[in-house]
């Protein structure tokens, strides 16, 4: 009951702009893989982290938030999602994840479709998720378009970084998009990139049957490495083929997503230097490209030196980014099982904060409480990876956020199911 009251107070006190805040007395987790700091202080100013740790001086003008007995961490960064692109996945009118039958593919950009007021944004913000990778789904060919990095704040300014990456399907999905085989997928990939290069040489006269003008233009930043290319790939042999393909296109900055069989070829992934946003708990041969899936995958890749973080590709990626903490906690749990490889708590927490940021080269800007990072801070009522814990305060860019959402409103309306003097519709 006390916790509930606290959450309500936090909700009512939410100010609109970034303030100077000092959060004191809590167990501070920086999020970069370092150990938690007892009785630490986090200072935010102008929407950024100024300092975090012990022995941090508190500015005179700071509002002080007492976090004694609580955990203070960077906000969770969902390493792969499609949040904000749909209100209800199964209601097609609200679902902007895929261009469907559109003629446009690589040139699709998720930004205009992102709805900061999508219910899932508030629901996941309430659970401590403050940033997310938002990727489109494929439509008519292997390229899905440009994804973005967004915040889950309550205002309309959601986009942290537009055109943060291009997304492409390899493996079984890519093969299907390319007409039916992995070989066709490779032919399609190479010929599309060749067409894009031809476009670059003579844009005015460009005409192509296999790659529209706008898609050819879109791929320029992929080819020249200004925009990363996230590739969905699962099977070990597909991973190795992708690494080889990467050598053909040395300027392309590859990132792999999914990677269920990564552990089988972890040393080769590590040697390639390609970062990985992996599914945490896939442990079934859900397809023939994930026969060797195991929850030890991330731990084993980590031990092999792979730059690996947690993402939720095709796993409730529109609604349940809040599973990130549970997934990270599970990777700590399996570390205790003989023969399994998990993550340490510090590694696991980094895998859902600075980790995804690192795979996308933006860890200098978001994902941890190191100085200069965005002021995304969550105060939790307990260990953030534990199932019983929840945020009591969420800040995004230094602005305290509402912890209200549709679910909370429904909960309060139906605290007792029976009607009172008036129908339920009057209770709010």
């Amino acid at each position: 009951m006390k916790k509930y009251l606290l959450a309500t107070l936090a909700l009512m006190a939410a100010p609109a702009s970034a303030e100077t805040v000092a959060i004191t007395g809590g167990k501070v987790v920086i999020g970069d893989g370092s150990a938690p700091i007892e009785n630490g202080t986090v200072v935010l100013r102008d929407g950024k982290v100024v300092a975090a740790g012990s022995g941090v001086s508190i500015p005179a003008d700071a509002r002080t938030v007492d976090a004694t007995g609580r955990w203070v961490t960077p906000g969770i960064f969902a390493g792969f999602s499609r949040v904000g692109l749909s209100e209800i996945g199964g209601v097609s009118q609200t679902n902007d994840t895929s261009g469907g039958s559109s003629a446009y593919n690589a040139s699709i950009d998720v930004v205009p479709a992102i709805n900061p007021k999508a219910s899932a944004i508030a629901v996941n913000r309430t659970a401590g998720v403050t940033r997310a990778v938002v990727a489109p789904s494929t439509g008519q060919n292997i390229f899905a378009g440009f994804g973005a990095i967004i915040d889950l704040g309550q205002d309309y300014e959601a986009v942290t970084k537009a055109r943060a990456f291009q997304f492409v399907e390899f493996g079984e999905s890519g093969a299907a998009e390319a007409g039916g085989s992995r070989s066709a997928l490779y032919a399609e990939f190479r010929s599309m990139l060749a067409e894009a290069a031809r476009y670059a040489r003579a844009p005015a006269s460009y005409d192509s049957d296999i790659l529209t003008r706008s898609d050819a233009k879109a791929l320029q930043d992929v080819i020249n490495g200004r925009v990363r290319l996230i590739v969905h790939v699962e099977r070990a042999s597909d991973i190795l083929q992708l690494i080889k393909l990467g050598r053909e296109y040395p300027r392309i900055k590859l990132v792999m997503a999914g990677v269920s069989e990564g552990w089988l070829v972890a040393d080769k992934i590590a040697a390639s230097g390609i970062p990985v946003i992996a599914s945490a708990l896939n442990d079934l041969p859900e397809s023939f490209e994930s026969i060797a899936a195991t929850q030890s995958n991330i731990g084993r890749m980590k031990r092999a030196g792979v730059n690996v973080a947690i993402g939720m590709i095709n796993d409730w990626d529109q609604t349940q980014l809040r599973y990130s903490t549970q997934y990270a906690g599970n990777l700590v749990a399996i570390g205790k099982i003989p023969g399994a490889s998990g993550l340490s708590w510090d590694e696991a927490f980094a895998a859902i904060t600075s980790g995804p940021a690192k795979t996308l080269g933006i860890d200098g800007r978001i994902g941890s409480l190191r100085p200069g990072r965005v002021g995304d801070v969550v105060i939790w009522d307990g260990d953030p990876l534990e199932l019983s814990s929840a945020p009591v305060m969420v800040m995004i860019d230094g602005v305290q956020q509402s912890l209200d959402n549709r679910q909370a409103r429904l909960r309060e309306r139906y605290r007792t199911p029976q009607e009172g003097a008036l129908p339920k519709a009057y209770e709010r």
């Binding site: 219910s119 442990d283 399994a340 199932l387 199911p417």
Partner: protein
């Protein structure tokens, strides 16, 4: 006189007094019963051939015990022998001399976890058309199909549910494309060559029904009935009316003889449901639709055992309590379709708080591996809104209450003397994200041991493949 009394309750089998589950000899010939000949046939033509594996008398001492019925014992002693639970008690419980003693200090014991809603085997891994056998999507009314005839026992998901989730029993249901999806089957989570060798002995069958979006979408898109929720109800009622008539004809035949009614395999199932012998498991998300189904059940004289995916149970928890219907729920799934839009994470806790029967189910090959965690989240969300619910009650959501909905609560689902020794020893509190099963016993047989790679099942499908026998 016997007949006169029992007619309303008679099943097909009882017409000939044949084929109880333990005596499942198929009898299709006519025999003399009194002066009249009766056609008889087995109500159990595909019987369980499950046999418990050998077990060792085992005592676990010093563990925290959640008994599955809301009880908790600290420093508890659990004694398993002969495939049964012999005793469960506190630290002073006598320890038999001839049993293997395991020190459970710092560990936790629960009954084997039960998933009331699974598609392992009929939507198995790998998820490809060749083994997608969970929906007979050729018509909206298919009570004639049986889930067990589409369950592939080599689904690797069974082993994951055992090792990671401590699941020892589970109900495999047909999918929700159809209004009447068919018969479910309850299984022991023991790897086997045949599905029959997994069947929970003498467990009642279930009948899967589905409300809402799925049937009307699947058939409406074919310009076929049902294309609306109205059509759903109309076809449901039409079907139940036929079933009532079918039952009446067979009851009359049992009573008076004459020419035997034509047998209808689907109607056999509905007749048994009307007789209370088959449990009704009704996929139904919305509160208003559940209320309608409750009255439809009254109209035709059956009872609903559980509403599944009941994301709006919290809106009518009082009604569900008053009608004695369980709600099988996810902890926090919501928003993937419109009828799931109002799902809230406090649903299970609110149902519990109202005094209704709450169950956490999976419907998922991943979440079946962590129903304990799902229950823990649902518990935490309830407490956060101020509801006073014990840890032991949350365990009941995934053990005894699930067993009750399946009609197997006298046999498993809690740690009571004489029940099946379906037991999980956890390496920590099962309501913590950091805990996993350490040992799992089914009917007293140790079938998973985290410390022993030999006690880790590998399905035929995974044999000889990359990652064979790995920890998963």
């Amino acid at each position: 006189m016997r007949i006169a009394l029992l007619v309303p309750l008679l099943s097909i089998a009882m017409v000939g007094c044949a084929a109880s589950s333990s005596d499942n000899e198929v009898q299709s010939s006519s025999v003399e019963t009194g002066k009249k000949e009766r056609i008889r046939f087995s109500d159990n033509p595909y019987p369980s051939t499950y046999k418990p594996y050998p077990s060792t008398a085992t005592v676990i001492t010093g563990a925290t015990v959640y008994d599955g019925e809301g009880g908790r014992i600290d420093g508890g002693v659990v004694f398993l022998s002969g495939g049964k639970i012999v005793s469960v008690g506190g630290p002073d419980t006598a320890i038999p001399g001839d049993a293997t003693v395991l020190d459970g200090t710092g560990k936790y014991i629960t009954p084997g976890i039960i998933d009331v809603h699974s598609h392992l085997g009929n939507y198995p891994s790998p998820s490809v058309d060749a083994v997608s056998d969970g929906n007979e999507v050729t018509g909206p009314v298919t009570p004639d199909v049986w889930a067990e005839h589409g369950v592939w026992p080599q689904d690797p998901g069974f082993s994951r549910a055992l090792a990671n989730g401590g699941v020892t029993s589970l109900q495999i249901l047909p999918g929700s494309a159809n209004l009447f999806g068919g018969r479910s089957v309850t299984l022991k989570n023991v790897p086997a060559r045949t599905t029959q060798a997994m069947k929970f002995p003498d467990a009642p069958y279930g009948l899967k029904m589905a409300c809402g979006e799925n049937p009307k979408r699947v058939y409406g898109s074919r310009r076929q009935k049902p294309g609306s929720r109205m059509g759903n109800l109309a076809l449901n009622r039409q079907t139940w009316a036929k079933a009532v008539e079918y039952k009446r004809r067979w009851d009359k035949y049992a009573d008076e003889g004459g020419s035997a009614p034509a047998r209808n395999i689907g109607m056999d199932t509905l007749k048994a449901a009307l007789e209370g012998k088959i449990k009704i498991h009704n996929h139904c998300y919305r509160a208003d639709e559940m209320a309608t189904v409750i009255d439809m059940a009254k109209e035709f004289g059956y009872t609903v055992s559980a509403f599944h995916h009941a994301v709006e149970s919290y809106k009518i928890a009082d009604l569900l309590r008053d009608n004695g219907i369980c709600s099988a729920m996810w902890a926090d799934w919501w928003g993937f379709k419109l009828e799931a839009y109002d799902g809230i994470p406090e649903n299970a806790a609110l149902v519990e708080n109202a005094g209704a029967c709450a169950i956490i189910h999976s419907d998922d090959e991943d979440q079946i591996q962590r129903l304990n965690q799902e229950a823990a989240k649902a518990l935490a969300d309830g407490r956060r809104m101020g509801l006073d619910i014990s840890d032991a009650t949350a365990i009941q959501w995934i053990t005894y209450n699930a067993a009750k909905a399946l009609g197997i609560e006298e046999r498993t689902g809690s740690l009571k003397a004489g029940k099946m020794a379906d037991v999980v020893l956890w390496n920590g509190n099962p309501l913590s994200v950091y805990s996993r099963p350490e040992k799992v016993w089914v009917d007293g047989a140790l079938l998973y041991d985290a410390n022993d790679p030999v006690r880790r099942p590998v399905s035929d499908f995974e044999l000889g493949q990359p990652g064979e026998g790995d920890v998963k």
